[in-house]
């Protein structure tokens, strides 16, 4: 039997030192090893990196307290890789400020992996100076994830300036801005986009309380949407100007997950089609969005799931998606507090499913929706000739059980899909 060397397991170096060397006779091992494992100093056996990993899950205020535990612990906290600052744990904001400044000055030079900065203010402004200090510090220490929450008095979201150090941070991959309005991002084009080194993978902007509209192009330029794999935009007004055919995400070459939640759109001029067509997009969710008078065309070639939730009726969809297997569409109606749909009984919703193009050799369409309406809207538009090229193999049409009463003309829907599918053994699996 091979004896493992201590160097093979860097993290557990200390542990191997204390245990007996490997023996084939278990009887010899029993007593001594049991003592080593069940002995007094369990946490003392823990390598520093594991201790720091544990401290990372606490607020930094709690982690700092460990300095009094013993001599070993005195400066251990200074190496924590995650900084969790929460002003709610302090009775006064001035104490929070002192605490943050103190931690930044005492911390060692090791990298910061994650910053969680949450400051609940008592007036409408945030402490910009403190924010700058924190961002400057973490960006110069190789931070990878930053989450900011800056709720102001009552339910306000204060404006905040994002320091230049953030835009020049090569290591930063995930950025989440909640309850605040990054002020530069509300500038309307045209302006000179900043030259920066930022290559984000995930970006979330959720101001919570309404503010000025955000120019989509401005946001895309400032934060660099081309590198993103995940984009979440919530509770804001997005403005798009000067587009006749609108396809805002087509340059998001790496985008896999897109969430637009409670977004109001300002479109000048109003295009005929609002196209969503990011080349790598897998998951698209539109939640509670106030839509506009144009068609929503989903044309992302790699889309796997589409959720359209709790939005006002009236959206007209068009799906233009070649050769994707197991595509799931989930459309849910808005509900009142009791979970019942808004419509009066008998009232039809107007979500139209027009023109599902599926050109793959084998496509299994799984379609689960709360309410389906058909009738005139389900018939293909004249100007689109290619619906006959579909090769669907099967249709799995599931309707949420509570809403079965609102489904009209189900046979028209299935006939439509059957017509579109050229496959000899086309199956309607379940309704």
């Amino acid at each position: 039997m091979v004896v493992r060397q201590k160097s093979d397991f860097p993290d557990s170096g200390r542990i191997l030192k204390r245990s007996k060397p490997l023996m084939s006779d278990s009887a010899l091992q029993d007593k001594d090893t049991n003592d080593a494992v069940e002995g007094k100093d369990k946490f003392e056996d823990m390598p520093n990196c594991v201790v720091l990993h544990t401290l990372s899950f606490m607020e930094t205020k709690d982690a700092v307290r460990t300095c009094v535990l013993s001599k070993r612990w005195r400066n251990l906290w200074t190496g924590i890789p995650c900084l969790n600052f929460n002003s709610k744990s302090f009775s006064r904001l001035v104490d929070f400020r002192r605490f943050v400044v103190c931690v930044l000055s005492r911390r060692d030079s090791s990298a910061v992996k994650v910053l969680n900065y949450s400051r609940t203010g008592v007036d409408y402004a945030t402490d910009q100076n403190l924010f700058n200090k924190v961002i400057d510090y973490v960006t110069s220490h190789g931070v990878e994830e930053i989450r900011v929450n800056l709720r102001a008095k009552g339910r306000g979201s204060p404006p905040v300036d994002i320091p230049l150090s953030l835009f020049n941070c090569v290591s930063l991959k995930k950025l989440q801005l909640k309850d605040c309005h990054p002020s530069k991002a509300t500038w309307i084009l045209p302006f000179e986009p900043p030259k920066h080194l930022l290559h984000l993978k995930q970006f979330t902007l959720d101001p919570t309380a309404p503010g000025h509209p955000y120019s989509f192009a401005g946001l895309a330029n400032i934060f660099g949407f081309a590198t993103l794999t995940t984009l979440n935009l919530c509770r804001l007004t997005l403005s798009f100007t000067g587009y006749e055919t609108l396809n805002p995400f087509e340059n998001c070459l790496n985008l896999k997950n897109l969430l637009l939640r409670e977004i109001r759109f300002m479109l000048e001029p109003v295009p005929e089609d609002f196209v969503i067509s990011a080349p790598q997009l897998n998951n698209l969710t539109l939640m509670c969005c106030r839509f506009f008078k144009c068609n929503l065309v989903i044309a992302a070639p790699k889309l796997i799931s589409f959720n359209y939730l709790y939005a006002a009726p009236g959206a007209m969809f068009e799906f233009n998606i070649p050769s994707v297997h197991n595509f799931t569409i989930n459309i849910c109606e808005p509900q009142n507090k009791l979970g019942a749909p808004h419509q009066k009984p008998g009232e039809k919703t107007k979500h139209g499913l027009i023109k599902m193009f599926r050109e793959g050799p084998e496509a299994e369409l799984s379609f689960s929706t709360a309410v389906v309406s058909c009738g005139a809207v389900i018939m293909p538009k004249k100007k689109c000739p290619s619906c006959c090229r579909c090769q669907w193999k099967a249709l799995n049409l599931r309707v949420g059980s509570t809403y079965k009463v609102f489904v009209n003309k189900l046979d028209q829907i299935t006939a439509y899909f059957r017509h579109c599918s050229q496959h000899g053994e086309y199956d309607v699996l379940s309704i």
Binding site: F9, T33, V37, H53, K61, R65, L69, S70
Partner: protein, 154 residues
């Protein structure tokens, strides 16, 4: 994650031997979640029994169970079952066996249990001997006084 494991093509079984001699027969893909064991297998391909000298049988059983079942809901329920002693020994085991998911879950669980507690409580729970002199300790407490406000009573 559970589904992936059941579909794994490898049905080869391995035996893991805990420090107190208890033997566990596990599927190869389960054992491979322990990167320490994986390294062992990589080195000696036809090994059948792998000794785990630092982990007691009862803890190795829990670790193997965790790997088989793990998902988010399981994680949340998992950590509630164990007392602080077991959590620490499980964390040592997870660290030695190099299972990052379990280590993350246990670090979080331990952090949650001590986060708002006084240093006296933490010392007791982790069995840490206080080798600070009273003056040193007082000095530290004064230096970081805002960190000591609002702590749970023991």
């Amino acid at each position: 994650m559970a589904e992936e494991k059941s579909q794994a093509s490898s049905s080869k079984m391995l035996t893991l031997k805990a420090s107190d001699g208890v033997l566990f027969e596990v599927e190869l893909n389960i054992a491979k979640e322990m990167k320490t064991v994986q390294a062992y297998i990589d080195d000696c391909e036809d090994i059948e029994t792998i000794p785990i000298p630092n982990v007691l049988g009862k803890h190795l059983a829990i670790v193997i169970e965790y790997i088989k079942k793990t998902n988010e809901e399981y994680d949340a329920e998992f950590e509630k079952q164990w007392n602080m002693d077991d959590l620490q020994l499980l964390l040592l085991a997870a660290n030695y066996l190099n299972i990052s998911g379990l280590q993350e879950c246990l670090c979080k669980a331990i952090a949650k249990r001590i986060e708002n507690k006084s240093p006296e409580y933490v010392r007791k729970v982790f069995n840490i001997e206080n080798d600070h002199s009273p003056e040193e300790e007082a000095k530290l407490r004064k230096e970081y006084k805002w960190a000591f406000e609002g702590v749970d009573k023991d």
